[in-house]
């Protein structure tokens, strides 16, 4: 702390944090039981005890630009053991929810994602774009004969929508990440430059789900998250492979069911479906263990779920040869996929960016995570 600077608590921020899911924050009396149970804690960082008092005082800068907040994988052990009924895991989740808004470039998109009122507008954009594209491509007439989605939306049309969306997500992600990174550098006097070992370590941790495996209170989430994670990885790979088929091999969709790429895609979709179903069920059945589910959590989980379900349904309708169902479902599927991709740095999806960045930051500064 700079010695000439006055510390100024922020009442409004405390109130905001409470609204965002951290209503228990003031209950903490700093006993540090949570520190004893949390895996993220380091000897020189009494986490999350210190974050709790920063939150009580409304010291948002310290909370937003603090890698530890992102290293927390919300296992819920701290909340289970807190003797005072404060729920650090919920408070940290609330901090992260507010962080999505804080880091967002452009900022208004961050705000829109935390506000239920803006949800319709957020969905209206891809719906309108895709509608226009459909009108442009085929005058909104469902193609006759065998169901082939690329006849409804030719790949070039898809690419001309989704590649810019992905680029937009990429650029805004980089800008948002930069904001986080420089904030972390400002707040902790480490060197702050990423090093290769840290990157490698972070990737390894993520792939192995090492932290989730250590959770006690919310142990089942390990399975759920693992399924979703690898399901999505498979789907992401599938998308890229399909592009390669098209541009390099000239092979078109739909692929035969026995095609390895098709198999990969289907397996990924089923894994992701199982994972999200499990997580939703857990959140509904055992809120004490999963922690609070905020608006941002629900929007993300449900969008994800909707994208997977519509994807599976689109494929099923195609195989069952019911065009009246297939094309509208496919259209809806694309809306959800657009939502997920284009808004990535603004929705809870962005946790994968910030968490990875924080892991690398912490690793690069000599702190194992």
């Amino acid at each position: 702390m700079n010695n000439t600077e006055y510390l100024e608590p922020d009442l409004a921020f405390v109130a905001r944090l409470k609204r965002a899911g951290g209503e228990s924050v003031k209950k903490c009396f700093q006993c540090a039981t949570c520190v004893a149970v949390c895996d993220v804690t380091q000897s020189d960082r009494p986490f999350p005890r210190k974050e709790m008092i920063w939150a009580q005082w409304g010291l948002k800068e310290k909370l937003f630009y603090n890698p530890d907040v992102w290293l927390c994988h919300q296992c819920g052990d701290c909340s289970t053991h807190c003797p005072r009924g404060a729920k650090p895991s919920d408070v940290l989740a609330a901090v992260r929810n507010l962080s999505f808004i804080e880091y967002a470039v452009p900022g208004f998109l961050g705000k829109m994602h935390s506000s239920p009122a803006a949800l319709v507008a957020l969905f209206a954009l891809p719906a309108a774009v895709l509608l226009l594209a459909a009108i442009y491509a085929n005058g909104l007439v469902m193609p006759e004969g065998e169901i082939v989605y690329s006849r409804f939306f030719p790949l070039a049309v898809i690419d001309s929508i989704f590649i810019p969306a992905a680029l937009f997500a990429l650029i805004t992600s980089i800008l948002s990440l930069k904001k986080l990174w420089s904030g972390m550098k400002r707040n902790s006097p480490g060197k702050g430059d990423p090093d290769a070992a840290a990157v490698f370590g972070a990737v390894k941790d993520i792939l192995l789900h090492k932290k989730f495996a250590q959770c006690r209170t919310n142990r089942p989430r390990y399975t759920g998250h693992l399924l979703i994670f690898f399901g999505f990885l498979a789907l992401f790979a599938t998308t890229n492979l399909v592009m390669m088929y098209h541009y390099l091999l000239g092979r078109e969709t739909p692929l035969a069911l026995g095609d390895p790429v098709k198999l990969l895609g289907n397996a990924g979709a089923l894994a992701a479906f199982a994972g999200v179903s499990y997580i939703i069920a857990r959140r509904l059945a055992a809120p004490d263990e999963t922690g609070k589910t905020s608006y941002q959590d629900w929007t993300f989980i449900l969008t994800l779920y909707a994208a997977i379900i519509t994807g599976i349904l689109a494929e099923s309708a195609r195989l069952a040869d019911i065009p009246a169902a297939a094309y509208p479902v496919y259209f809806t599927h694309l809306v959800f996929v657009f939502f997920l991709i284009a808004y990535l740095p603004f929705s809870k999806f962005a946790h994968m960016l910030y968490r990875t960045a924080a892991m690398i930051y912490a690793g690069s500064n000599g702190k194992n995570n």
Partner: protein, 712 residues
């Protein structure tokens, strides 16, 4: 000695006694003392045994020695009315720690029986000191404690005289805006002090003196002569017992210069802040601005060796309560609380939780290093905070949560005309408190009880309980005194010390050493007894070098005779003898516990229980060594800061006397190792075999007492 008063001895053979010693041989012992042969009974404490004893009493037995179990058990069963003197010899316990049917065990049983007979022979029935006594209770101080004590005493049917130096009743509590939450809801409540003051004022059994002070107090319980300075002039009145409820002073803020105390306008005590809050809107002193941020500094001068080394227990709650005032006045205000620990015991925790939950209250543990005036407000620097490192905070004003100093510190309230000083002796830090376990609600001035924050730091709710307790103690003391009986710890004892003044050398040992200040002195230094102040500890008896202080049933001569009754086998027999003088309050129960546990102790010890180790007279050590005993152990309570002595000073005084022992031993060419003081606590039973065993080894090493040969 008339025939009627001749001791009779009854030996019980139950509880393994009969199976452990040759009782027939024991029965013949009394004859050596001119006492009829002892009678034996298989089960003295049973109905049949008691019938038998009652019959003996009816047939003229007026002094009875019951050689059975310890006097600490069945006292009620072996009570045959006030005209029968009963002495108990703890044969059973002595045998339980010994090997049955061993020659040493037989010798041990014989010695205990002999000592019992001698003790009974030297005992007289005490004649209680009965005077016509006044039973008014004088309450000094009219705050919440004093008023509660006054009302409690009147409820119990006593008359009360209340002296208050201010012109109104109510004391500190009257200045409060609200009290701590005591109802469990967690909300501070209005005080009821005005209504209480009215009740006291209008109470027919209370004589009230406002704007008055006590000028002097002399006399003793039931006969206190009190002079009071009232606005109408000085008056002289009588009182039976006294409750001192003079409260506390907030610690002097000007001693806390590093916290801005006395130098920065906007740094005030919580007491001052409370007054401001009680009188309307809260405004800071410098410019009457309503503060939008206030910093509370907890433990300001408390728990600090340089200031008050203790916790005053009320200031955490006070600051939380005052934080509420500020937050109520201005919902945007910020309140900082810098604490070392938040101490909010019991239901107070609910209020702490409530205030924690308030968004505008910011707390952290930390060491406040400075409070300084800056830009019309204050700047506070706090080290080692929970937020991490040092922080610097600005506020409109700061409140120092200062602790309590006893109003009795530096005296001035009672003006006792006592030899040992004008005020109640303090326990520590200037509080006239007493040992919490051994001496609850007590003081060292019989009949005078301190209550409330004058006694130790406490809040209003605790003070009310304390006041009721003190009122009851005062009533109890008067009641006992009226019957010539002692108050705690020997409650009910009717003996009291007699001085054979002809031989008094005015050495002042008794007047100085009595833990209760019983003796005053005349100009020449002759002790002037006030028997109703006496707690019968016997310390004066132990102190008196002339050995002229004695009780009817407890005297120097009695114990000398008992020591001399111990049989000392010749050197060649290799049977050392060690005398243990043990305090009855803790060490004797420890022995009894050892007996219940059937721990084995050396058969060569002879234990004599004393009212208090303070009553140990040095002549007994002379007697013991002259008789040929090989060593003496003194078992008493721990003394010093954590003392456990029932009479506060007894064991300490005894061990001080030992410092003069070397001279005595030197004269007799005896080794100093032969005498040892050991602090014993009531739960030390398991330690006894080790302590005694070690000492026996020392005795073995230094060898037999050479005086054995000369002893008869």
């Amino acid at each position: 000695m008339t025939q009627v008063n001749a001791p009779r001895v009854y030996i019980c053979t139950g509880c393994d006694i009969g199976a452990s010693v040759d009782v027939d041989k024991l029965c013949k012992i009394p004859a050596e003392f001119g006492v009829p042969q002892a009678k034996r009974h298989p089960f003295l404490c049973g109905e049949e045994g008691l019938q038998y004893l009652r019959k003996e009493v009816a047939e003229g037995a007026g002094r009875i020695l019951i050689a059975a179990c310890s006097g600490r058990v069945y006292a009620d069963r072996f009570d045959f009315g006030k005209d029968v003197m009963v002495e108990r010899t703890a044969l059973r316990e002595a045998l339980w720690v010994s090997t049955p049917n061993d020659p040493d065990t037989q010798l041990l049983a014989e010695d205990y029986l002999k000592m019992g007979i001698v003790k009974l022979q030297k005992s007289e029935k005490p004649e209680p000191y009965i005077h016509q006594l006044d039973d008014t209770i004088l309450v000094v101080g009219g705050g919440i404690t004093g008023m509660t004590a006054a009302l409690a005493a009147t409820d119990a049917g006593k008359r009360v005289r209340l002296v208050e130096k201010e012109a109104v009743l109510g004391g500190f509590v009257r200045k409060l805006k609200r009290r701590f939450p005591i109802d469990g809801t967690g909300n501070p409540v209005e005080t009821n002090i005005v209504a209480m003051a009215e009740e006291v004022k209008n109470h027919p059994a209370v004589a009230l003196h406002l704007s008055s002070e006590v000028v002097s107090i002399s006399g003793q319980p039931g006969e206190f002569d009190v002079r009071i300075k009232t606005p109408e002039g000085e008056i002289a009145v009588r009182a039976g017992a006294i409750v001192q409820a003079t409260g506390f002073r907030p610690y002097d803020i000007s001693k806390l210069g590093h916290l801005g105390g006395g130098t920065v306008d906007n740094v005030i005590t919580s007491a001052r802040f409370e007054e401001i809050a009680a009188s309307g809107r809260i405004r800071r002193p410098s410019d009457s601005k309503e503060p939008s941020s206030v910093a509370f500094i907890q433990c300001a001068g408390s728990r600090d060796e340089k200031h008050l080394p203790y916790c005053s227990s009320f200031c955490c709650m006070t600051s939380l309560k005052q934080a509420r005032y500020i937050r109520e006045q201005n919902p945007d205000a910020k309140v900082y609380i810098f604490y070392r620990d938040m101490r909010t015991p019991g239901k107070y925790e609910l209020f702490y939780k409530q205030m924690q939950d308030d968004d505008g209250v910011f707390m952290t543990k930390g060491d406040v290093v400075s409070v300084a005036g800056v830009d019309g407000g204050v700047e506070i620097v706090v080290n080692n905070t929970l937020l991490g490192g040092t922080i610097r905070v600005k506020a409109d004003m700061a409140v120092l949560a200062v602790g309590m100093e006893s109003a009795a510190k530096n005296g001035g309230a009672l003006h006792l005309a006592y030899r040992q000083g004008p005020e109640l002796p303090e326990l520590n830090y200037g509080f006239p408190d007493s040992h919490f376990v051994c001496f609850p609600y007590e003081t060292r001035r019989t009949g005078i009880y301190a209550a409330g924050a004058v006694r130790h730091p406490m809040d209003a709710a605790q003070s009310e309980t304390d006041a009721a307790g003190a009122a009851l103690k005062a009533i109890q003391c008067i009641t006992l005194a009226a019957a010539g009986k002692s108050a705690h710890p020997r409650s009910g004892d009717t003996s009291y010390p007699d001085i054979a003044f002809e031989r008094c050398t005015q050495c002042k040992r008794c007047t100085e050493e009595c833990p209760y200040g019983m003796y005053d002195e005349d100009a020449k230094g002759t002790p002037q007894p006030n028997p109703l102040r006496c707690r019968r500890c016997g310390t004066c008896m132990g102190a008196c070098p002339q050995r002229i202080i004695s009780f009817k049933n407890y005297s120097v001569d009695m114990f000398s005779a008992m020591i001399k009754a111990i049989g000392v086998p010749g050197e060649e027999e290799n049977r050392p003898r060690v005398l243990i003088l043990a305090c009855e309050n803790d060490s004797m129960p420890a022995f009894e516990m050892a007996a219940k546990l059937r721990l084995k102790l050396s058969p060569h010890i002879r234990v004599i229980g004393l009212r208090c180790l303070g009553s140990m007279n040095m002549v007994w050590l002379n007697d013991a060594f002259a008789k040929g005993l090989d060593g003496v152990l003194l078992f008493g309570c721990k003394f010093g800061d954590e003392y456990q002595c029932h009479n506060m000073k007894g064991s300490e005084l005894a061990s001080e006397r030992l410092s003069k022992l070397e001279e005595t031993l030197g004269r007799m060419s005896l080794e100093p190792e032969r005498v040892r003081f050991v602090p014993i606590a009531i739960d030390d039973a398991y330690a006894l075999p080790g302590i005694i065993g070690d000492f026996m080894k020392v005795i073995e090493r230094v060898g037999p007492n050479p005086f054995k040969e000369f002893a008869d």
